[in-house]
């Protein structure tokens, strides 16, 4: 599942030079957090949060309200600075001009000038950005049957999302940060805009971080997930590997054989209905007979971690930053 295979030539070499530490996996981190913390007055939005996202991944960002998702997006976009630890984009601090050129950020409220027409909005983007793909932006707008002459203020929220996404993609970013992009979009436009997003990711090897509360929306489009809770990393890694590490055990609720052997498996969550027990575990040894063993779907795993804030976090090797003495300082 190497993202490098669809990166355009030359770019990954450039990344390698700007990234300070070689990861054991040999891939290159686009976004990396080490002990990242952000405090607002008394409240810690993020505390001691560590993870990395390799190049070319489409990463789903999941977590409860107040879990730190939007704060992480703002830090990654360079709009705010950490109060502890570090975050880097392509090996640099996100607020530097060179890093910001490579990032596009679509905030939840899709900020656009309401008095501008779509045409003026795209013109502003062209003036402000050294790289600008006007044809692509117009194509995305036209797919939604929006005339370029219409004012942004008169658009529905879903239509504004389309224009905002057109602007974000026209910048030709290498890292695209999308904070709940599809929340206001109707199902047909959602499918179409997701298709556009995936096509751009395929063609240009963009790394995407996309947050959503609708887990089904992320299923199928993400090959990497990052689950935050109480400001910390609770689950991070390649979807394939995460699914591979978990099993759903289904059995009868039998007092003689209480499930699920807690000393043998890392138990994430146990749910009991009348006579049935369902447990999501990370097996350490082969599961004993008597259980129906099922490979979970992504949604099963994410829901289990969301419902069980006390479960032991899992950060797979591709999502674990290299901790150097320098970085820990």
């Amino acid at each position: 599942m190497s993202g490098a295979s669809r990166s355009p030539g030359g770019r990954s070499g450039e990344l390698a030079r700007t990234t300070a530490d070689r990861h054991p996996s040999g891939d290159v981190a686009v976004l990396e957090a080490r002990g990242l913390g952000k405090r607002y007055r008394r409240r810690h939005a993020l505390s001691d949060c560590s993870f990395r996202i390799p190049a070319g991944r489409v990463c789903g960002l999941v977590g409860p309200n107040g879990g730190g998702k939007s704060t992480l997006m703002e830090l990654a976009a360079g709009l705010t600075r950490p109060t502890s630890g570090s975050i880097t984009v392509f090996g640099e601090a996100p607020h530097t001009a060179s890093a910001r050129r490579r990032i596009a950020y679509l905030a939840q409220d899709k900020p656009l000038y309401s008095r501008f027409t779509i045409e003026e909005t795209l013109r502003l983007g062209r003036e402000l950005n050294p790289v600008w793909d006007q044809d692509n932006a117009e194509r995305i707008v036209r797919q939604g049957e929006l005339p370029l002459s219409v004012r942004v203020g008169s658009l529905s929220r879903g239509e504004r999302t389309r224009v905002a996404l057109a602007v974000a993609l026209a910048k030709r970013p290498e890292l695209l940060l999308l904070d709940e992009p599809m929340a206001d979009v109707d199902p047909i436009s959602r499918h179409q805009l997701t298709g556009v997003l995936m096509a751009e990711a395929a063609e240009h090897g963009i790394t995407v971080l996309i947050s959503s509360h609708v887990l089904g929306e992320l299923d199928g489009i993400c090959d990497f997930v990052l689950l935050l809770g109480a400001g910390r990393t609770r689950l991070a890694g390649d979807v394939d590997e995460i699914l591979d590490r978990h099993r759903l055990l289904v059995g009868t609720d039998d007092a003689e054989d209480p499930l699920p052997e807690p000393d043998l498996h890392e138990v994430v969550e146990v749910r009991r209905t009348r006579r049935q027990v369902t447990a999501l575990v990370r097996p350490r040894v082969p599961v004993a007979d008597g259980w129906d063993v099922v490979e979970p779907a992504v949604e099963d795993v994410l829901m289990a971690y969301l419902r069980s804030p006390g479960a032991t976090p899992l950060i797979t090797s591709s999502a674990r930053p290299v901790m150097t003495p320098h970085a820990e300082r």
């Binding site: 993202g3 298709g195 089904g216 090959d223 063993v293 992504v298």
Partner: protein, 141 residues
């Protein structure tokens, strides 16, 4: 070649792409030398992760059915089609005739599928799956 992805089928998305490609090869819709759609084309139409398409194409390549030429595309190497099973074959015509009669007899889709499955299993038995875990629903990649 267009892929139809069913997210609720419980079959991994990349497996659906592999199987639909093989079906097209069997039926002769895809011929040796023809190009499979690019990853961009597939994901734009289906809104799935590009790596899923690449994974499916790698699997087809591993099975020797397609050739991936870097920067050019993925091309069909081998047809799976047997002339006896092509869309214009005698067997196809006979099966179509049987379907027409089943339809005329008032069977619905499920009835016909069940009948075919029972005869199919009798003549083409499958070995039991050795996998330890089965998939439940949906799939990420």
């Amino acid at each position: 070649m267009e892929y139809l992805i069913d997210r609720r089928s419980g079959v991994a998305t990349y497996v659906q792409i592999v199987e639909q490609t093989k079906r097209a090869l069997r039926l002769g819709f895809l011929q040796p030398g023809e190009q499979l759609p690019t990853a961009r084309e597939v994901v734009e139409a289906t809104a799935i992760n590009p790596n899923t398409v690449l994974k499916a194409y790698r699997e087809l390549e591993r099975e020797g059915l397609v050739d991936s030429r870097r920067g050019v595309g993925t091309f069909v190497r081998h047809s799976l089609g047997k002339p006896q099973a092509a869309a214009d074959s005698v067997l196809h015509a006979e099966l179509t005739d049987w379907m027409r009669r089943a339809h005329a007899a008032g069977l619905d889709r499920e009835d016909a599928a069940a009948l075919i499955a029972s005869v199919l299993d009798a003549w083409f038995p499958v070995a039991p799956a050795a996998s330890t875990a089965h998939r439940r629903t949906g799939d990420a990649v």
